[in-house]
Amino acid sequence: MGDTKIVIPGDIIDTHTEDSDQTILRLGPGLTQTNDDTRATTAGVLHSAKDNTQYWVVSNKRRYVPAESEPVLGVIVARHGEGYRVDIGSAHDALLPLLAFEGATKRNKPNLALGTLVYARVAVANSLMDPEIECFNSKTGKAEGYGEMTEGFMFKCSLGLARRLIDSRAPVLGALGAGVPFEVAVGLNGRVWINTASPATTVLVANAIKNSEFLNAKQCRQMVKELLEKQ
């Protein structure tokens, strides 16, 4: 990666390499292809990897736009004949089909109350349809950690922070994990679920994660250390 490059929507991105004809270009969030050009659709910092064959834009915002295969945390707001309507913080509620759970059949379907928090992954996301989410991996049929959250606490953060937290090497998670045991599930829609042994620890972990947004790795460790000492 070279210098930091900031792009704004409409910018044409130079993706040409020596052997452009052979390489397959992969475009991540914030980029789109128009004719032969690659253009940015969001304002942010352009990143590239794998010898300039992968590009994506890192930006920070508060309103979630669903993208396929991203994990999200949502609250059930309504139940329909064939599924639940789930608030995932996007412009339109997502649909969670009754059969999109591990081991669910037409006879054996999960019964979730309104207000239940679910961890799910986005299955369908396009501009013409309401997003659809599922609480299992449709390839293996296993839950793989997705499903109803029965205890713990959820808080909201910026989408940029959520994206950084999903990386298990995030400094704040490492620093906290060295001091207190806790469970965490990050939704890329800017929601973080945590669970610990006691409410006081949960509050500590939640506030440490929220405070870490504008701190670097060293400052994170220092902040967590101070919080743990105070407890």
Binding site: T116, T150, F153, V203
Partner: protein, 281 residues
């Protein structure tokens, strides 16, 4: 279409579970007030109050109108609040200009706190009895909703009113001359005292868990809310209790005692902000 769905069940359950162990979700103590930041200006009658994440902007303006026939010597003071989904994404944006219940509740409470406690002298707003009076308008804009809009809105309104300067007027017989601000210095409104709101939320099935200055999540989980309004002379100007759960006299007494000390701190912050803005001018 997004409906106000409130927090998930586990969030509400966690707030209660933590409170039973005297732990608040943002790490505060039960009777801790969030940091209050008040700024005035640059133009007179503009004030912004930040209470933790909550932000309220108050704007005061005035114009000359005809008084109401039954009160010919009193000026008008109007309050309006605007709560859009700028403040919180779950607030209804599709109401299409209709005033929501929460907006009405806040405007009415601010009106009770400031006008009906006679904090503002409406007779001093009279120019010519029965013919011309000042109509003062306070617009409250909610920029961010982190809970306890009531306290922030009341503080913003009173700061903006105290910061405001209206054009000077001289009356000669039946003629009233309104002086241009460049010609003659505008004059402050006549304000007798500074009422300050202090809000509590009561959580739990019986409202047995009281917290001061509720956050948004605590507000969404509350069974009842209680607002005490006091001024610097330790006079109670207004009380407001909302929600279905009854409160005991002991609870009200305790809240009022806590409110007494907090109101002092808020008054000091308000005076410091107004003093700071007048010295910087």
């Amino acid at each position: 279409m997004v409906v106000d769905i409130g927090p998930s069940n586990i969030e509400t359950a966690f707030v209660l579970e933590a409170l039973r162990k005297n732990v608040r979700v943002d790490g505060r103590g039960i009777y801790d007030y969030r940091t209050l930041r008040i700024s005035c200006g640059p133009t007179p009658g503009l004030a912004e109050v930040q209470l933790g994440q909550t932000r309220v902007l108050a704007r005061v303006s005035c114009e000359v109108t005809r008084p109401s026939p039954d009160r010919p010597t009193e000026g008008l003071v109007q309050f309006s609040s605007e709560l859009s989904n700028l403040a919180a994404p779950n607030l209804d944006a599709s109401s299409g200009g209709r005033v929501s219940a929460q907006e009405v509740a806040i405007s009415r409470m601010v009106e009770r706190v400031i006008r009906q406690s006679r904090a503002i002298d409406t007779e001093a707003l009279c120019i010519l009895a029965g013919v011309k009076v000042w109509a003062v308008r306070v617009d409250l804009h909610f920029l961010d909703h982190g809970g306890n809009l009531m306290d922030a809105a009341a503080a913003a309104a009173i700061v903006a009113l105290r910061h405001f300067r209206r054009p000077d007027v001289t009356v000669q017989g039946e003629e009233a001359i309104i002086h241009d601000p460049r010609e003659r210095n505008p004059v402050p409104l006549s304000i007798h005292h500074t009422p300050v709101c202090v809000s509590f939320a009561f959580l739990g099935a019986l409202g047995e868990l009281a917290v001061l200055d509720p956050s948004l999540l605590e507000e969404q989980a509350q069974a009842a809310s209680f607002t005490v309004t006091l001024n610097a002379h330790k006079e109670i100007c207004a009380l407001n209790k909302a929600g279905g759960v009854p409160l005991s006299p002991e609870q009200i007494q305790r809240c009022t005692q806590v409110a007494l000390t907090k109101a002092d701190e808020i008054s000091d912050a308000i005076n410091a902000a107004l003093k700071g803005s007048s010295s910087s001018k």
